[in-house]
Assembly symmetry: D2
Homo-oligomer: 410 residues x 4
């Protein structure tokens, strides 16, 4: 029953009983998942065994209602804490699961706000999610394309659709049962955006499992090719504008992004745990490296940096939860949506930097052993850098412009 | 009715109706207090008019029960928000008031936990606080002495006491009606610590009003000399050990310190407000300085730094509130007290640095006008630096050692 | 004969005998100038006595040939070291003198490259500078105007000129004998830039001595009003384009700016000296604050930050010296001029930040005493912040754009 | 004939003709070495081909006199520039070669100061180094032992010695012909330190080639086991004290360390080059990511951070060169040796941090492509982190204590 959901000052705690239950599920398999993921990570292959174990334990089902087999978790705040714990086990696992859990939390919210979607259809998905039959990978990114200008396309084909395109950075794809993907679809006035839910066993789907990154080495964040993939009408849903950022999407993007921020907070917590354990153990040995002024100061700085990660994640998750408690999906006004996304982006930047500081301090505390290829700190050093490329705004290099423009628009 | 309690992402909000009411009191006099304080600050004299106005408006009475004339504020979290707002008006005012409000919040907690103190005596104080008759200055610091090794001394004298000593950094002292002071008192086994409540009109009290600091220029943080000051028995209370840090004091020190952290958060908010207003107004003028990459990026960074201040203050204030909701004053165990003080110290460090970043970014955004002697940003630049010398641990230079030792003791 | 020209690792040393001699002049009056300047600084008035003493000692004459009474200093590198030492004595003095010395070094370079200017006229100035009869203030800035778009104007009047306009931030103006000022002059194709040398005793010149800044309090950086000031033809020199940044000016601007960078390096050295002396003295007392991990680490960090200041200043001063050794004034090509100015701007940013770190560390090391209004560290804390508003590019907020555009142009 | 020895503002230039020639040698094979090293790095194996090519080109011979086949390079400053260039090609190569070149530069210095060593013996080594027959690996580190308390031991055996022990982090060992190793040797009053030069083909030497680090993946920094390795008397040299840091070693340690600092400066230059090239090319495409405020500002910051790396390396290399120009090896007094080592340590810290900033900025500029496993920036991100564990003081975690103690001793 480890690890306990701790990790420094101001660690956020679950706010709902369902959150408590979901974290207990994670804790029940944490040790074995950690081991399985570490092996895959070191080998640089997808963490198939770890993901399968989490699926079997019901971790991918937590957002489903209890009657469907889940824990009935609808709080985005507590969903973030689940992701944080998974990333504390292994960064790749946290990132991979963050996409699935962001989506299933979104579906849970749709179920709670009838009228925002084809309820029966959603309920069908949730039933299968609760039954642990669905593991989702989010297939959005395309090479050289902003999120609002995808080239993958769904065209009418008979009663249904044909989807063709190439997606990259599809985390968890080698272990997913379904791809939740963003495509464009031609209309009279040009393209519209649409989302498609694709069973990976459908003809025309090729999951390449070709991720080769600096870090997140067992996240399976590879390429997926869709070649004339035929889907029934109900599995494609048109919505949103193509070709320019859509303010109506900002709130949804905030909801989709905050679990990713939680994943980076979890990686920081993993580094913090290692350093704290080493320091606590070592400090019993006087005269050792633990008495060096630089090490003692680095430990103090570590606690400050970790507290910043925790406080910002907690505040952001609470902020998003509150925003969505009262509004239906896509129900926020454009201004409110922009403010919410700005808050998530700010949280992402703050966590990215403080998490980087946590890792640097942890390595300073632990010394040269951190630099081994198989060291947990070395792994987190690589993993945590991905935060700079996964900010909650697209294109990511426009983050400062988005925040400045948001300020200018007040 | 300004300023509204805003100031960046993750601004903490009051959690109790009493907190709302207390903030409304502050807002009702904010504009005039800002003006009065700014004049005193520029002249480098104590903000007598501003403090008198706050007293008259009942701001120093907020922690008293409603039936005594207060707003019944017992939440330390919301007391922190009151301090934050005051510091947003003027840093000196926030710091000065933080001492009074920390004490009156402590008295309010004592009233709520009968048995921890001579209730009738405390009720008497609270009645006068509610009646706006008491403004407290905290007189603890002495030149070259740690907080747990004060030289000011109370000796038995007839039925009462005689107190002699010199205190420095007694913020608000030129406007205080009473000094709440820490002294030693000789016993059979050496000295014990004691606290004394001293009416400033008592013979032997000299308030020197001689503060001359880099910043906090209207805070009245000068020297007070006590020369054979006679007090009735009830006004001195023995408690705590002298000569070494007393773990039993850690929780109390946390409670006394977190409003100071709130004051620095408020100063950051003041700088943020100036920069945001300038940026929002200026950005309407294309081609101007507001389109410079450095200014746009600085604005984005400003929002990140301010969010960190807010999130950390909110988390720390909530943490302290929660710790005290369930325990009587001095009721926390030593380990819990150490953890709580460590959390406050961590919050203080985080706020100190992020607040510094906020001020730097704000000056970068606003340009050379910030460097004028009378500029608000210039004032905050000087004020906010005091945080480095007011950390919630004594002696302050041992902050890293305290955090490292706390880690080692886990 | 103090202070010795030391101050941390990688302190640059003079490269010419004339530089050695000039530094010795500064050292000969350092103690008394320090005292006089400190008094003026605390009072917030111009350091008239200190400036007069430096003039009398020949410090303002160092760039004049030996036969004219100077030390024959033509190296811009060593001129920077003179400014650094003056700023180590007092930041205001360093800034004030930097303008004069930048100009006299420029004149010295003109004398060394016959043909670039009316040699006889320059020689006349140099003779008076060597005779200690001229102290120059640089009057360029105007409210709300970029350096290349000044509104002060010189119009033909009889055989000479009439100059009218308002200049701000004219450091040293209350002690200057002459103003070296930038004006526009109307021509057939619009305005051209011009420079005018104005004796402050000329009718129409009003030096307001009204500087009131956050810092540099005794620098006399006030306003100067020129109202129909009549000048002989030879004292106005037309050159350069008005209305847009002139790449032909970049090299000259680099030469004019690098002494200012040296001034900020000198302020950092002053803070370093204070902290090192306190630490060295204090460390002899075991168990004291000097054994705290945070203080020991801060001292180590102080040495790193100071070394960065020194190394960057040294490299930049050498770079500029080398660039000018081989070329006449305004002789560098536009691309070379841009590169040189970019290097100075980069050095300014690096020094600005490292100097800020030095001051912060020094205050951390020395503790609360640093926060006194009359503390040297408190003074430097205020002074050093001006670096953010005196960067070697106009308008200063475009610094990142200038560096990015320079990179893009390679 | 690339890469040219450029890389940002204040790039240090060779100060001797021999340095020029040595850099030309490096440039002549840079392209092919870069390619060969990159392949080895990606595969995580020792860069055998690249090292062999450098040996063949004479790069390992540069410190030998010209008559022996070298370029006669005796300047430590210029030796550092050779290391910097090699690290700019590949970090592992730079680190590996830094040990060899530090040693051969030391031998060159010994040759130049007759009397400090058995000259004939040194001349023999230099002859073979010049003939490209010797590639040295420095075998000092042992698991859990400070540099001044090694456990590897040389015992008298017949006319010669027998050496036994285990060394780790022996960079370049799979490609070395000789190991230059530090051992202890028993004497009447306990152990003394000694150095042994060991041909890797000697019986009892096992080079494990088992390096598996977070970075420096092709540096061959593995374990070497010495088991009763027999050496002639002349190949072991007794000197220095065992068991405690020996101030007499400080100057030597400075000389041995500064090329390592140069290697990290070279890695920063590699990252800078990539980002500058991408930015320069990209900026020609308006409206692209290169116009984002965050990217433009990051580019400006990149130039500042790179300039700091260059200025500090240049100043430190010049400082060391100057110190050694006038003194024989081990000829500096203890105080001077301590100061020199402190300067190197300060330079190492400054370069470590600025280099980290360069890499972070470069990745920010280049975006997600930097995160690929085979990306050059990703490689440098991993390599450059090793600086934190290779500081010029042993034990490395005592760096702040060493600098504080040095300050206290002034």
């Amino acid at each position: 029953m480890s690890p306990a959901p701790v990790g420094g000052s101001f660690t956020p705690h679950p706010r709902t009983p369902a959150g408590h239950d979901a974290l207990a599920l994670v804790a029940s398999v944490a040790d074995i998942v950690r081991k399985e993921a570490a092996e895959a990570d070191e080998a640089g292959v997808f963490a198939a065994a770890a993901v399968e174990r989490l699926r079997g334990a019901g971790v991918f089902a937590v957002n489903a209602p209890r009657e469907f087999g889940g824990t009935g978790l609808t709080s985005l705040h507590d969903t973030c804490l689940v992701v944080r714990e998974l990333a504390r086990i292994n960064g790749s696992i946290g990132i991979g699961a963050s996409m699935h859990l962001a989506l299933t939390c979104y579906f849970a919210r749709q179920l709670a706000h009838p009228g925002t979607a084809d309820l029966e259809h959603r309920r069908g998905w949730m039933r299968r999610i609760g039954a642990r039959e669905m593991v989702l990978a989010s297939a959005v990114a395309e090479p050289g394309r902003e999120a609002w200008r995808v080239a993958a396309e769904a065209r009418r084909s008979g009663d249904g659709w044909s989807v063709t395109g190439t997606k990259i950075l599809v985390s968890l794809s080698p272990g997913a049962t379904h791809l939740y993907t963003r495509v464009r679809t031609p209309g009279e006035d040009g393209y519209a955006m649409a989302t498609a839910m694709i069973d990976v066993r459908t003809a025309g789907v090729t999951v390449h499992d070709d991720w080769s990154g600096l870090g997140l080495r067992c996240s399976g964040s590879g390429r997926v090719v869709l070649d004339d993939v035929r889907l029934p009408a109900a599995d494609v849903r048109i919505g949103g504008s193509w070709g320019a950022p859509d303010p109506g999407d900002f709130a949804g993007r905030a909801a989709a992004s905050i679990p990713i921020v939680a994943a980076y907070a979890g990686m920081a917590a993993a580094a913090y745990d290692v350093a704290r354990d080493r320091f606590t153990t070592g400090a019993a040995d006087p005269g050792s490296r633990w008495s060096a002024a630089a090490v003692r100061t680095a430990y103090a700085e570590l606690t400050v940096a970790m507290a910043q990660v925790n406080a910002v994640l907690g505040a952001a998750a609470e902020r998003v939860d509150e925003a969505f408690r009262s509004t239906a999906p896509r129900g926020a006004g454009d201004g409110a949506g922009r403010d919410l996304l700005a808050d998530c982006l700010i949280a992402a930047l703050a966590v990215e930097r403080s998490a980087g500081a946590v890792v640097d301090r942890a390595m300073e505390i632990c010394g040269g052993a951190s630099y081994g290829a198989a060291s947990e700190l070395g792994r987190v050093y690589r993993d945590v850098k991905a935060a700079a490329f996964m900010r909650p705004y697209s294109p990511p290099e426009r983050w400062a412009d988005f925040l400045a423009d948001t300020g200018a628009a007040r």
